[in-house]
């Protein structure tokens, strides 16, 4: 439940309720993460069963936020939404690190209407309008999900935290990862270290192996965690948390989700 809800939150605007029984992976997959010269990259965005195969539904790009090294927001170029994936291009022209994120905010509600269980998902402002006044046992949950990847031209730089929801803060830079080496990051919640949160990492190519070979780590008092990459490849990191810091008055709880696609190079 936790996982499928996470997937639905991350992919908000794509998945139709009732939520799928199986956990889905939500991801951005860039054509390159380390660049030596200004060039255009292409990014796939999908919700899938396997990493990183687009075999389920596209990830909506409505809430795509691309920040350049100078902190300015950049447009996605040539966006396309297909049956199985979304795609966009990005001109990477400034030296430094780009942060690409799909940020989905929403509200989930469950309630009873004439003895029947109902579920609803949508924008906070639509809540009052779309849930019937005679609904009972109304339970509202706010959600904030961030699906990311990082790309660097030349020397890596560290973008300032968004300070909203869950996110990664580099200790090791996300575009400086090498197989066999340990990488350390911090997880932030609203800009503050998030301790005691479980983070999982799965290498791509899950379609071709029997086990996901998932690695897990728990953030320490400083919000930090580390992974040693067993082999090169694209990895998918995921973390989720919940708290009571709601911004929607009707909500009791806030669910937070974060995923990031990281490329690990060979030695």
């Amino acid at each position: 439940m936790q996982h499928s809800l996470a997937a639905a939150v991350l992919a908000a605007g794509v998945l139709i309720l009732p939520m799928p029984a199986k956990a889905h992976n939500v991801w951005l997959l860039p054509s390159s993460t380390v660049l030596a010269k200004a060039e255009t990259i292409t990014v796939d965005a999908a919700v899938s069963n396997d990493l990183f195969f687009f075999n389920h539904v596209p990830l909506a790009l409505d809430n795509l936020h691309i920040l350049g090294p100078d902190g300015q927001r950049l447009p996605a170029e040539r966006p396309h939404r297909g049956k199985l994936r979304s795609v966009f291009d990005l001109s990477v022209a400034q030296p430094g690190t780009y942060r690409l994120a799909v940020i989905n905010r929403g509200v989930f509600a469950s309630y009873k209407l004439k003895g029947e269980n109902k579920r609803w998902r949508g924008a906070p402002e639509a809540l009052a309008r779309e849930i019937p006044a005679e609904a009972t046992e109304l339970l509202v949950t706010e959600s904030l999900g961030r699906v990311e990847t990082w790309v660097t031209l030349g020397k890596p730089s560290v973008p300032p935290p968004a300070a909203q929801g869950l996110e990664l803060r580099p200790v090791t830079h996300p575009n400086d990862l090498v197989s066999g080496e340990s990488a350390r990051f911090a997880l932030l919640l609203d800009g503050q270290p998030a301790s005691g949160v479980e983070v999982s990492a799965i290498r791509g190519g899950t379609r071709y192996r029997d086990r996901p070979e998932e690695m897990t780590a728990t953030t320490d008092a400083r919000g930090e965690f580390a992974f040693t990459w067993p082999q090169p490849g694209m990895y998918w990191l995921e973390a989720s948390a919940k708290d009571g810091k709601v911004s929607v008055p009707a909500a009791k709880e806030r669910r937070l989700m974060y995923t990031v696609t990281l490329e690990v190079m060979p030695q």
């Binding site: 030596a36 010269k37 030349g154 020397k155 400086d176 090498v178």
Partner: protein, 174 residues
């Protein structure tokens, strides 16, 4: 003359002598790019550098495709992965006196004098000589040879690549 000032002079003479020694020293790297029987051949990109114990990189030579329009050839410098991480990503290209064009299959000899910019400022110590080679639609190889700089005596090191590099001969002399 006081003892301390004579010590200072002795020290200064010693430093000057060491500097002179280092300036006269020489590092020569002969590397062989094998001729490969492949459908699509591109001349390899090559980086040669000295790496200190703190992973500090001191670049000696980088060969990449300089002929392409708009510096397009610099796009693949990141494929010299280890070099890119150590120092390549901090530079802008071309780098005067360090970068040059790719070379054809055959034996190539690079000679660096202790008076050259790359070596003259190098602190005395133990280094790894690193040779990284990568070929578009081909493979990548990294060879390393530990050596002390400046060298106390002449020495020859022979290395053998597997596919992308053939024989490599490194000569140092004081």
């Amino acid at each position: 003359m006081s003892i301390s000032s004579s010590k200072k002079i002795l020290g200064a003479v010693l430093v000057a002598t060491l500097a002179q020694q280092a300036a006269a020293a020489e590092l020569a790297v002969q590397l062989e790019i094998p001729r490969l029987n492949v459908a699509e051949y591109h001349r390899p990109y090559v980086a040669v550098w000295l790496e200190g114990e703190r992973k500090d990189a001191h670049n000696l030579a980088v060969w990449y495709d300089l002929k392409m329009k708009d510096g397009e050839g610099s796009k693949w410098l990141k494929d010299l992965r280890q070099w890119w991480r150590r120092s390549g990503r901090d530079l802008s290209f071309p780098v005067d006196g360090m970068t040059s064009a790719t070379r054809a299959p055959g034996r190539h000899r690079l000679v660096f004098s202790g008076a050259d910019a790359a070596l003259s400022r190098l602190p005395a110590g133990n280094y790894q000589l690193v040779i990284e080679i990568v070929r578009e639609v081909g493979g990548r190889e990294v060879l390393t040879q530990p050596l002390a700089w400046p060298p106390k005596e002449a020495a020859r090191f022979q290395l053998q690549g597997r596919e992308e590099l053939g024989a490599v001969v490194v000569d140092v002399k004081p």
